[in-house]
Assembly symmetry: C2
Homo-oligomer: 340 residues x 2
DNA sequence: CCCCGCTATGAAACCGCTTGCAATTGATCT
DNA sequence: AGATCAATTGCAAGCGGTTTCATAGCGGGG
């Protein structure tokens, strides 16, 4: 059995109340007494029991981070950014992914583990997700990450995909004004995909073009699926002088590989653009023109908002939008890569 | 204030003892009563308070995962594997990285958060790490991941780097029997680097060769550092008909890029091999010959051991070693890539 | 008819800590 | 000198559960 506050009290010859006061920086404790207590604590290597403390204080110093998946660099960077900031704020991070089957169910269970976390960050990427509905009655402060939930009563960290996507499409149009642009998305219900698709359609509309249905393809964000699909299309795309705009870097890399496998040149025969600017974008040859998403910053900012809310629970819901930025490399032609 | 067991008791018109019994599946509760209680629970959306429960049961259902870093796919995959298995076993995952400065200090703090976690997985990759010493008196069951701590009293998940590295070096020697082999490691104190270096030296010794000191280089596992370093050496290496064995894929990719930038051909002018078989290995051109490390499996296995120990605390310490495997692709020449 | 044993339930102790309130003490004020 | 006050410290009441032990009800055997 670990040492308890009582052991410390006995050793320092005071009551447990006094020990508790020393612990909680109530500076109402006499200097000498405090010293005795602190010595006792040190000698015993005492550490207060989290549960007992949490029971009174209703605080665990743990924040929950719920992601739709843990696969790939995208989420990994979010975690990294979140972890760093959480540490900075004195919190630990409980991480969980919500798979398709447990879905909302489980978020509530995680949350519902009453008091386990002081607050949560939930990343919502599926429109249909049951989470979205169950979010309303979360028993703890919530920050929604990258999920555009209207009428939200909670804090939100949004990413300006829209803007990034629009800029990218404009960039593509400026280089290839008449080319068809093939859009490769994730699932049709994926919010990011929807955003990017909207941006794509909007920009085309601006120049009076209407994308043909067959140029809008929903895949699943994975390299493998994209590679299989692209392998069957690259020749056709190339023949039509198309440009490919993939909704993430993995799929873009797959298209590049498929093109190369078909002995096409990228970008000469088939320009390709990605999204996110993960490490992948710099490792493929040619390197990917893409849109930089501030992944680590997303995690950090979400934690920051959460911590702020924990400190002042009554302030109005906050919404921050992080900027994105087009990164031009070689996979699309255009200006020779600027150092990057 | 959330609903408590007392609310449920009142609503079901029973005592809290009975509610508690229903909750804990003591099947000593009368069927009718149980039904009433369950209805009350459902109607109130009651969930037992984690702290109160933990206080009595001394159990949080949270496991800690402490990694040296959260950067890159390597750790990301470990987390993914661990998370999946943890869920399967009914646990949540608390993730933390130990940075150089807080080091052991903090592991104890995390652990020391008395009772916050029921057990921990600690990945130790630095010889000098203070963690290693503070590990002995962990107050909770511990699984050491990939750290070869001798005389260990805890469970261990080891990776057979040694074997993988030896096979890889033999493979290189079979292709380039007389070439100098340049070893690019992480920090000199990094345990994995040490293992791989030992394997490298052992195999060379077997064929009666002694690596020259200048062919053993310690960097820091990062792409950037490796790229800078390699950029200055590739011509020299190529001239000496050297082969590069990098201790991870990132550095191998950097060497490939540096070589390409110097208009060398890989593998013709400079064969390069990596380690880990992260996604990177498949995305570079040429793709990397490397050693597959079962990253997700490492995380999963560690959780598995931990859960088993939590169930039977007295069983003798267990040690499992996960196998690695050489993956031959194009960055080193050799047999034409087999499908992969 | 009484006692026994079994089942179902409630009362209360306890887990370790925080905190409001009362008590003690020595000093200051009138 | 008596009262007031500030500074310390201890007492004890929870926080919300689990669990031991006692109690109540009830059918059956002697």
């Amino acid at each position: 059995m670990a040492t308890s506050i009582e052991d410390v009290a006995r050793r320092a010859d005071v009551s447990i109340s006094t020990v508790s006061r020393v612990l909680n920086r109530h500076n109402v404790v006499n200097a000498q007494t405090r010293k005795r207590v602190e010595e006792a604590i040190a000698e015993l290597g005492y550490r207060p029991n989290v549960f007992a403390r949490g029971l009174m204080l209703r605080k665990s110093n743990v924040l929950g981070l719920v992601l739709p998946d843990l696969h790939g660099e995208f989420y990994s960077e979010i975690i990294r950014g979140a972890n760093l900031k959480a540490r900075e704020c004195g919190y630990h991070l409980l991480i969980s992914s919500v798979t398709a089957d447990d879905d909302g169910q489980d978020v509530l269970a995680t949350i519902g583990a009453q008091g386990l976390v002081d607050g949560m960050i939930v990343m919502v990427t599926e429109m249909s997700s049951r989470i979205r509905t169950s979010l309303g009655d979360a028993p703890v402060p919530l920050v929604v990450l990258d999920g555009d939930i209207q009428g939200a009563t909670h804090d939100t960290v949004a990413i300006d995909h829209r803007n990034g996507a629009e800029s990218l499409v404009r960039h593509l149009l400026s280089l290839y004004p008449t080319s068809p642009i093939v859009f490769l998305g994730g699932h049709a219900t994926n919010l990011d995909t929807i955003d990017r698709l909207n941006a794509y359609q909007k920009v085309l509309a601006e120049v009076g073009r209407e994308p043909s249905q067959k140029d809008i393809v929903y895949l699943d964000y994975s390299y493998e699926t994209a590679f299989r699909y692209a392998s069957e299309r690259v020749l056709e795309w190339s023949a039509a002088r198309s440009v490919v705009f993939a909704a993430n870097d993995e799929m873009a890399a797959a298209v590049v590989d498929a093109a190369l496998a078909a002995t096409l040149d990228v970008p000469a025969d088939l320009p390709v653009a990605g999204f996110d600017d993960t490490r992948i974008a710099q490792l493929t040859r040619p390197r990917l023109t893409t849109v930089r998403t501030p992944m680590a910053q997303m995690g950090a900012k979400a934690i920051e908002l959460l911590c702020e809310r924990l400190e002042s629970p009554d302030r109005p819901p906050n919404r921050v939008t992080l900027p994105t930025e087009v990164v031009v490399r070689e996979s699309c032609g255009g200006p020779p890569a600027p150092g990057s």
